[in-house]
């Protein structure tokens, strides 16, 4: 019975054009847009340094030299792949900086009031000024993380690991590989692709429960086990969605040639576990005795809302949450999944990766158990 149901459920999932179209096309289109959007930045990275000026108007004169050396060391470490500096900076006065900017000798200048107080002055908006702006954002964010991290008593290692993602340029990770910060968007994209399985498995219970659909009536009227029918539908949905996430991964790795920092085997394993977790979440939500529209809203909230909180649409949100409400990042499936990819890339696994994988496996086990418990036959009060 199980094999026949599994086979037929696979056909149902594969032939669901809307589902397949949405789950394959959406991540590929979004991935392509990311690639095109970031592509111009990559192009710039392989060209000339961006001329800029630094103007020191320090409030705290006592720590002036410390501040100078700190900021210079930051700019010195912002480099292209070939090791050349990304920003060609010079220290000037305010008037000189203004003049250089007017004459278009520089793209902008940084006005430094203190170690954690810096602003950017630009006169036009283009890719180079965007990069200067992104460098400032990254610097401020890292300073913020550092200050709050020390206040909260975090170790230096913890603070440094948090700072990496906020950074703008390629740096050396702990494993010695190249780390491209924009790859975080692609991690989130894969995470979202895996989480789409929530929508697929959401429909398992309505199809086997009499109070939810006519197909459900047929299932409940049959002598066949509800659990076997549920598990067959669950594994069919999960297998199809795993294939879909592998298609997306293949597209990113082989067509767009996104550098995930090696570990392809572990990346595949992570997407499999992530998709499995998403499938169990959808299953458990679908088992709730609520209106289908309510269930769909909950699923959408977890998929899209989770994607948003993990930084898919607005990169900084995850790090703001990390500082102010870290529990959200620990329990949000999208964040945990993208964290797993992140740790895989940065640390080649490590504690963070193990935590993410364990979390996903535990969540999967809990929600699958919920699904199994809820799949017994029972007379309803109304249909």
């Amino acid at each position: 019975m199980f094999s026949a149901l599994l086979l037929n459920n696979m056909k149902i999932n594969i032939r669901n054009k809307e589902l397949i179209g949405w789950c394959i096309i959406f991540p590929i289109v979004l991935g392509t847009l990311f690639y095109v959007g970031f592509g111009s930045i990559y192009d710039i990275q392989s060209t000339d340094p961006i001329p800029a000026a630094i103007v020191y108007e320090l409030d705290d004169k006592a720590n002036a030299s410390e501040c100078r050396s700190m900021i210079e060391s930051v700019f010195d470490n912002i480099k292209y792949d070939d090791g050349t500096a990304m920003v060609e900076y010079r220290e000037t006065s305010l008037e000189e900086a203004d003049q250089l900017l007017d004459e278009k000798e520089i793209n902008g200048y940084y006005l430094v009031h203190g170690m954690a107080d810096m602003e950017l002055v630009i006169r036009s908006s283009n890719m180079k000024t965007s990069i200067l702006s992104a460098i400032l954002t990254g610097y401020k964010q890292n300073m913020d993380i550092m200050i709050k991290g020390f206040e909260k008593g975090l170790t230096q290692e913890q603070i440094v690991s948090m700072m990496y993602v906020g950074d703008y340029v390629k740096e050396q990770n702990l494993g010695g590989d190249s780390h491209d910060p924009y790859v975080a968007y692609f991690y989130n994209l894969i995470a979202m692709c895996c989480l789409m399985c929530i929508q697929t498995s959401l429909h398992i219970f309505p199809n086997i429960r009499a109070s939810r659909s006519n197909l459900g009536k047929r299932h409940e009227l049959s002598p066949g086990s509800q659990r076997i029918a549920m598990l067959a539908a669950f594994f069919a949905a999960t297998l199809v969605q795993i294939c879909i996430s592998q298609v997306t991964l293949f597209y990113l790795l082989c067509i767009l040639k996104i550098d995930f920092g090696g570990n392809t085997g572990l990346i595949i394993l992570t997407t499999v576990i992530g998709t499995f977790m998403a499938s169990t979440i959808g299953l458990a939500i679908g088992s709730l005795r609520l209106k289908q529209s309510v269930l769909e809203s909950i699923a959408l909230m977890i998929t899209v809302g989770g994607g948003f909180l993990s930084g898919l649409m607005y990169g900084d949100i995850k790090w703001k949450l990390e500082l102010n409400l870290p529990i959200i990042n620990r329990i949000n499936p999208a964040s945990v999944l993208s964290d797993a990819f992140y740790h895989l890339n940065i640390n080649h696994g490590g504690k963070g990766y193990t935590y993410s994988i364990c979390y996903m496996l535990i969540v999967s086990a809990v929600f699958l158990t919920v699904g199994i418990i809820m799949s017994s036959k029972k007379s309803s009060k109304s249909l």
């Binding site: 026949a4 037929n8 056909k11 032939r15 009536k217 309803s380 249909l383």
Partner: protein, 315 residues
């Protein structure tokens, strides 16, 4: 005496204040084609859902094949086939795959299942559509697929809940012929409908329902004998005077005369040949008419006389 297949005793089902079934009783014997007839909302589908343990009920007892029916009684469910009012098939599976899917819930052996699915396809005459997806089928063909999904596993008891709703006359006839054939092959049938002609055509015994109660039970002839009306004389005519209407009312066995919309309805009791008395009255009074004919009472008349309401929905 034939074995009882379904026995319902004093069944009560309430939805908050609404009493959907009020001490309803049923006793269906093996080999019957049992009709549950009643207007929409009379409690037919609720009865079926209670029998099948899809719905819980407040009091009463339900036995199927002599054993108490409960949701977890898979041994009893294996012997029952259900064709629901609404079509329930997967849009993504072909005709063959749909029947195979639902048959696999009953039959694990692949070879047996294949044989049963083929027989079901033959039975509903969907051979040439076996690779079609449901969306490509007409309403009638879709209903036939719905039936095939419900009966492919060769059940002993088949419950059909309004299987011909929104079906063209040709497909309806095929469905009714099929049901009669299933009965001939040994299945006991419970057939619910609000189409009295269908029930009259195929059912060996009929339970008429109204407001969750059984109001009349018997064969079609037995039900018709329970009422006063034995013949309806219908006359198509432009007009008739009140004086003549009163004259008609005085004819022996005529107990009701109504004229509306160019149609005169004369209800008679005591025999089937009252039309001759009506014709004599028309000749004698020089009354002109377009057409006159006589009809025997239908189940609608039975329902009308018992409840004072029409059975048939206005469609």
């Amino acid at each position: 005496m034939a074995e009882t297949v379904v026995k319902v005793t004093n069944l009560v089902k309430r939805y908050k204040e609404l009493v959907a079934l009020n001490n309803f009783n049923l006793d269906i014997k093996k080999g019957e084609v049992f009709g549950l007839l009643g207007p929409n909302g009379s409690g037919k589908t609720t009865t079926i859902n209670c029998i099948l343990a899809l719905l819980s009920y407040d009091s009463g007892e339900i036995e199927v094949f002599g054993q108490k029916m409960r949701a977890e009684r898979n041994d009893l469910k294996r012997r029952i086939g259900v064709v629901m009012q609404d079509v329930a098939v997967f849009d993504e599976l072909t005709v063959y795959e749909n029947i195979d899917y639902f048959c696999s819930l009953y039959i694990s052996d692949k070879a047996t299942r294949r044989q049963y699915v083929e027989e079901a396809i033959d039975f509903v005459e969907l051979n040439e559509f076996r690779k079609f997806y449901p969306k490509k089928l007409s309403g009638g063909l879709l209903r036939r697929l719905n039936i095939a999904c419900g009966i492919a596993h060769k059940p002993e008891l088949i419950i059909l809940d309004e299987p011909t709703v929104a079906v063209d006359p040709q497909s309806r006839n095929k469905i009714l012929e099929g049901i009669t054939e299933l009965n001939r092959q040994g299945a006991t049938i419970i057939y619910t409908s609000h189409y009295m002609e269908e029930v009259e055509q195929i059912c060996t015994r009929i339970q008429i329902m109204e407001n969750g109660k059984g109001i009349a039970l018997g064969t079609c002839d037995e039900l018709k004998q329970q009422i006063k009306n034995t013949e309806n004389v219908i006359v198509n005519m432009k007009k008739i005077s009140e004086e003549h209407l009163n004259g008609l009312r005085e004819i022996n066995h005529v107990y009701d005369v109504k004229f509306a919309g160019d149609r005169l309805m004369i209800k008679c009791s005591g025999g089937k040949h009252n039309i001759t008395h009506v014709l004599e009255f028309f000749d004698k009074n020089d009354i002109h008419y377009d057409r006159i004919y006589s009809e025997l009472p239908t189940l609608n008349d039975v329902f009308l006389e018992i409840t004072g309401k029409e059975l048939r929905d206005k469609e």
